[in-house]
């Protein structure tokens, strides 16, 4: 990370301008958005590897029928922790890291609006995940009730470590809410003169909307885990039918959080791709206004579709119909976004550096995930898909080539600006193609498995599912091992890459490309003028 530090401080006469502190103090006490952004990104990558190892444990056990490596108890802990860590530890912090690095540089602000809170919201995370991961070494084992932690499996029937899980989730929620407040305060108050809302880069727009989603739903998550805590320790019966409670209530509250949550994980990636495709098409983004409205529509719709996760709980017919129609409606703004990206590429002057490769793969594979999402929205067919590997295929198609490829694209795109050096393009193409093949090999066969009738979250399966499971496991290991190449690429770029220009990419536009590479420790101390 040393390359991030700019030692040639420009304004020595100004007392507010100083370089970073020395040693560990720099990282513990920093209020600098660039330092905090880097910490978020490194933390999320570490969690990505931890969650990835858990996924590989799952795939190794599922390589063949029969129980070979782990017992069902531990298998359930792995599925649970894999989901929780990837959602809350890998994807969300990565996007907060990108927001920290990029939003101030994109809107011409010197830093985030609330820098001390920024420090705090990061430093909560290692403790939250320390708490969660420590349960793996405790008597009774880690949480084993799935990342959706349906009651009463997660309350009356949960291992004792559920309490650690609850407090871990509380801390992650506090961190996310503070991060979201910071993003909103920064975007609404600290834009450079002339940077009207409708001139903001789409990444800033998508993050503004995401931040509102976070503030709306993280308290709901906090509420539901608190109700669990009450049920587990204080004798209430929110979710215990024997005490007059309602297990289905849990699912309604969880998914009222959970559905907006999945958009929290994808909207910033929409923003990233909307920055990258115009650059490498050398053509402005097609339909900027409709892109903004589409993101807003998706965000609003996300609040009225939650029960499509619950088509089989026995809702009344009108409830099923409402949630089916509302869910299908989401295809419209999502379709608009895909069409706009393609219209941006159409008659452009395309080149395919790593960020563009990941972005194009994002559009294609996310659309495939969108198609399976549309199929899942159809309630009668969902009775056949629900809780099978078809669902697993669907959400991995929107999260891996969606959120994760979006993050890879962003890192390759902005890394030269962050560290001042280009990454190794040939090696990055290897990273892309191996990830692309591995990911499709891992997740495409899951569509077939689900349709053929394999339920999700099972440690062992009937014989007709054997072949596709083997293929899927091979793909998962290919994808997993390839990510070490990514780590090597980033370290190599930081330490000894070729010098990047200020503009970095021929077609890049936006304020962040007007500052030097690497970005100085303090940027835009004097706001730029945006025309």
């Amino acid at each position: 990370m040393s390359a991030v530090i700019d030692t040639t401080k420009p304004n020595h006469d100004d007392h507010e301008h100083h370089g970073p502190a020395k040693g560990i103090a720099r990282w513990l006490f920093t209020t600098n958005h660039k330092d905090i952004g880097s910490m978020y990104l490194w933390f999320s990558f570490a969690m990505f590897l931890v969650g990835g190892c858990m996924a590989l444990t799952i795939r190794a056990e599922l390589f063949q029928p029969g129980l070979q490596l782990v017992e069902p108890e531990f298998f359930n802990q792995m599925t649970t922790m894999h989901g929780l860590i990837m959602v809350f530890g890998a994807v969300m912090p990565a996007f907060v890291g990108l927001a920290n690095w990029l939003i101030p540089m994109m809107i011409g602000a010197p830093d985030m609006a609330l820098p001390r809170m920024n420090n705090w919201s990061f430093w909560i995370l290692p403790f939250a995940f320390g708490l969660l991961l420590s349960t793996l070494f405790m008597e009774g084992g880690a949480p084993n009730f799935g990342w959706t932690f349906y009651a009463p499996l997660s309350t009356t029937y949960a291992p004792d470590t559920v309490t650690y899980f609850i407090f871990g989730v509380h801390m992650m929620g506090v961190s996310s809410i503070m991060g979201a407040i910071n993003v909103i305060a920064t975007i609404l108050n600290m834009r450079a003169p002339g940077m009207t809302l409708m001139k903001m880069p789409l990444f800033v727009w998508t993050w503004l909307i995401t931040a509102f989603l976070l503030i709306a739903v993280m308290p709901v998550l906090a509420g539901v885990v608190t109700m669990m805590l009450m049920d587990v320790h204080f004798g209430t019966s929110f979710f215990n039918a024997a005490g007059g409670g309602d297990p289905v209530l849990f699912q309604h509250i969880f998914w009222f959080f959970g559905h907006p949550e999945v958009y929290i994980m994808i909207l910033p990636a929409f923003g990233v791709v909307s920055q990258i495709i115009p650059t490498f098409s050398r053509k402005p983004l097609f339909g900027y206004h409709s892109m903004v409205y589409a993101v807003a529509s998706i965000a609003i719709l996300s609040f009225i579709v939650w029960a499509h996760h619950m088509f089989t709980v026995g809702m009344p017919l009108v409830g099923e119909l409402f949630f089916m129609y509302a869910t299908m409606l989401i295809a419209v703004p999502t379709g608009v976004k895909v069409f706009n990206w393609i219209a941006t590429m159409f008659r452009g002057s395309l080149s395919f550096e790593a960020p563009m490769l990941f972005s194009v793969a994002f559009v294609i594979l996310f659309t495939i995930g969108g198609f399976s999402g549309l199929m899942l929205a159809i309630a009668p067919s969902d009775f056949q898909y629900h809780d099978t590997y078809f669902v697993v295929a669907h959400f991995h198609y929107v999260l891996v080539p969606g959120a994760i490829f979006g993050i890879f694209a962003a890192v390759y795109y902005w890394l030269p600006k962050w560290c001042g050096n280009m990454y190794d393009e040939a090696l990055a193409k290897w990273h892309f193609w191996l990830s692309f093949v591995g990911m499709n090999l891992a997740f495409f066969p899951m569509h077939f498995l689900g349709l053929a009738g394999m339920p999700r979250r099972i440690p062992d399966y009937a014989l007709q599912f054997a072949d596709f499971n083997s293929i899927s496991s091979v793909g998962a290991f290919l994808f997993g091992v390839t990510q070490l190449l990514f780590l090597y690429l980033v370290i190599k770029a930081i330490t000894k890459g070729e010098k990047a220009t200020d503009q970095v990419w021929e077609g890049a536009e936006g304020l962040e490309w007007t500052i030097p590479s690497p970005a100085p420790y303090h940027t835009f101390s004097t706001p730029p003028e945006v025309r």
Binding site: P65, G66, Q68, P72, E73, N76, E139, Y150, L153, Y157, A241, G245, D246, V248, R282, G287, Y288, S290, T312, V313, L317, E320, L321, M328, L329, A331, V332, V336, I342, T344, M345, F346, R347, S349, L350, S351, V363, T367, F371, L374, M375, I378, A379, P380, S381, F383, Q384, D387, V437, F448, A452, G453, P455, R456, D460, A462, L463, A466, V474, L478
Partner: protein, 374 residues
Amino acid sequence: MRSRLFHWAPVALLPSLWATPASAEYGLNMTRGVTDVSQSVYDLHMTIFWICVAIGIVVFGVMFYSIIKHRKSKGAVAAKFHESTVVEIVWTIIPVIILVAMAWPATTTLIEMYDTSESEVDIKITGYQWKWRYEYLGTGVDFFSNMSTPKEEIYNTAVKNENYLLEVDNEVVVPINRKIRFLITANDVIHSWWVPEFAVKKDAIPGFINESWTRINEPGIYRGQCTELCGKDHGFMPVVLRAVEEKEYEEWILAKQEQARAEAELAKLTFTLEEQMERGLAVYTTNCAACHQANGAGIPPSFPALKGSAIAIGDIEKHIDIVVNGVPGTAMQAYGNQLSDVDMAAVITYERNAWQNDTGDNVSAKDIVDFKNK
């Protein structure tokens, strides 16, 4: 670049070489099933699939055209256009029309699936950790259905049979061409009862009774599984139904009723310790071994050991109490209404004498009845 990648293709195919022996046909697609509803669901699924394929061809077609034709390396010069309200409106409205076309058949199918009226056979299904209970309402037929795949097959010390993990000790027998209503609930956590061939999947939720129905067109054996994570052995609670002609179904009901009467007679007899141990082992293996393990060691702390435990070698009445009434707030179920008095007596006797517990106690069915009547 691309040619190198193809080297990976054989790696992907390798696993199929050492895959399993007795494999059934592997499926790529959803089953058409054996009911009118499952056929409608399949048709709906395929319609929407092909609509998605068609949209995909158009959208990706334009994209790949651009990727191939509009490359900078081929000298493409970027156009300047970047906005068109007309185009935006067009590609908003066309998807809406397609969606309405999809919603129509989906709605009619869903309305049909929700019509549980005028059923001819009613079966109450209760999910337990980790087995299903079936009660044929109005007939007195009431039994549990447990997975019958032996541990040796699961732990790879025996060859896996064709119906590995999808076989049970007691099949659910149902008549064809009759409207069968399922009333689905659960005893502990949430389960979900699924038979793909019927397109019936409904969550079994404690405190709720969900309804679903089917009318089977063809006789046969239909297999499904629990589809809601319900704890340790979620993967090991299959559903197996045998659909038969009306007459065979009637005979089966009569046989089941007769079996229950014979079972009740047993309560009047007394058994030697050896007989009790033999019966108890069978009951233990089916009902208790999943948690407390075959060797009585349990999986502490979630599932305590019975070997040498204070309860299994201590006061008999306390032991009976725990098995009959369960331990509220834990995974220990109340077996009082699950096991017959004879089986209950046998399994308690077994637990008190197996694994060097050796108390020598022989608990009789009468002891259980007396306890329940207290």
